[in-house]
Amino acid sequence: MSKDLRFLIVDDFSTMRRIVRGLLKEIGYVDADEAEDGVAALHKLRNGRFDFVVSDINMPNMNGFQLLKEIKSDDKLKHLPVLMVTAEARKEDIVLAAQSGAAGYIVKPFTKATLEDKLTHVIQKLGL
């Protein structure tokens, strides 16, 4: 399991981006960049190298579902695992995310253990 993975954290709240980044650092993943919505995230993904996306859902301009759809329909990006970290707790949203290709779903507020557990699961499953 490589700790050299490069993460993109997508959330419209800078506080949450900092929290996720801080947690990733504690877990051992120090290489991360941030985007404030789906549009900015897509731009960064198409112009840089990333191994993992951690994305909120409810964001302006382009929400997490739209971003997920864009990623999964782009030949160059569709291999990227996308972990949804969101306050959206409706079961239909959770099912939709899974059916759309999300690698995992975490509801806010969450713990460091939950994030580490989901990341480890996805990374081991994909052999990253």
């Binding site: 959330d11 709240f13 800078s14 506080t15 949450m16 900092r18 929290i19 801080g22 947690l23 504690e26 859902i57 409810n58 929400n63 579902f65 739209q66 306050a87 959206e88 707790a89 409706r90 079961k91 239909e92 949203d93 959770i94 099912v95 939709l96 899974a98 779903y105 975490i106 509801v107 806010k108 507020p109 969450f110 713990t111 460091k112 939950t114």
Partner: protein
């Protein structure tokens, strides 16, 4: 017979038209009564007062969101700084422990310092995690602000409708902004009350169970 067949839909249509006409007439009468009642009871003035107060309520909520956001950022800055210092303390105590293996009393004290440092770091992580309140409350405030804007628009429209023709000076009614591109589910934000709702996951375990039941 043919004549009867062709006449039947027409008769039905006439009856429907009559009923629709009667319905519109009655709605018109009710609207006029409502209009007169609002005027006579002075509700239009009260409505105007409410409309005037809504932007103030919105700006107060936005102010709360901004201030809590700034506070959360300050806390995160301090946590970052404190974590860096704490990490230094732990590293130095480890180094000193390795330098004085022959002095058990000193090594014991250094071990206590290191353990305290590690525990403090854990508390700092907890403090960092607790700042997620800004995201969660911010989303709720944002929804309430949008709701207030929608209510304001609708009340303005009602005011325009009940105002006497002579005093109508139509304010600009701004339609509630809504994305026309996104066609997915309406996003609800944080669930503030899960009681009695079976359409939401109330914990991470709920999420995991749901996904597992679907084979994900």
């Amino acid at each position: 017979m043919d004549q009867l067949h062709t006449d039947r839909p027409s008769q039905a249509s006439d009856t429907t038209d009559d009923r629709s006409g009667e319905m519109y007439h009655r709605i018109g009468a009710i609207t006029r009564q409502l209009h007169d009642a609002l005027q006579e009871l002075g509700f239009a003035e009260k409505l105007k007062g409410t409309v005037d107060e809504l932007p103030d309520a919105q700006s107060r909520l936005t102010y709360i969101a901004r201030l809590t956001g700034e506070a959360a950022e300050k806390v995160l800055n301090s946590v970052d700084e404190a974590k860096a210092r704490q990490s230094q303390i732990v590293q130095i105590s480890r180094l000193l422990e390795s330098l004085f293996p022959a002095k058990p009393a000193l090594a014991e004290q250094l071990q206590v310092i290191r353990q305290c440092g590690e525990m403090t770091d854990q508390h700092l992580t907890d403090i960092m995690m607790a700042q997620d309140f800004h995201d969660l409350t911010g989303q709720v405030i944002s929804r309430v602000v949008k709701l207030a804007a929608t209510i304001e628009d609708q009340l303005l429209q009602l005011l325009v409708d009940v105002a006497p023709p002579a005093v109508i000076n139509k304010p600009t009614v701004v339609a509630a902004s809504a994305s026309t591109e996104y066609t997915g589910p309406r996003l609800e934000g944080p669930v503030v009350d899960t009681e009695g709702r079976d359409d939401v996951a109330t914990s991470q375990q709920d999420v995991d169970d749901l996904l597992a039941s679907l084979g994900f």
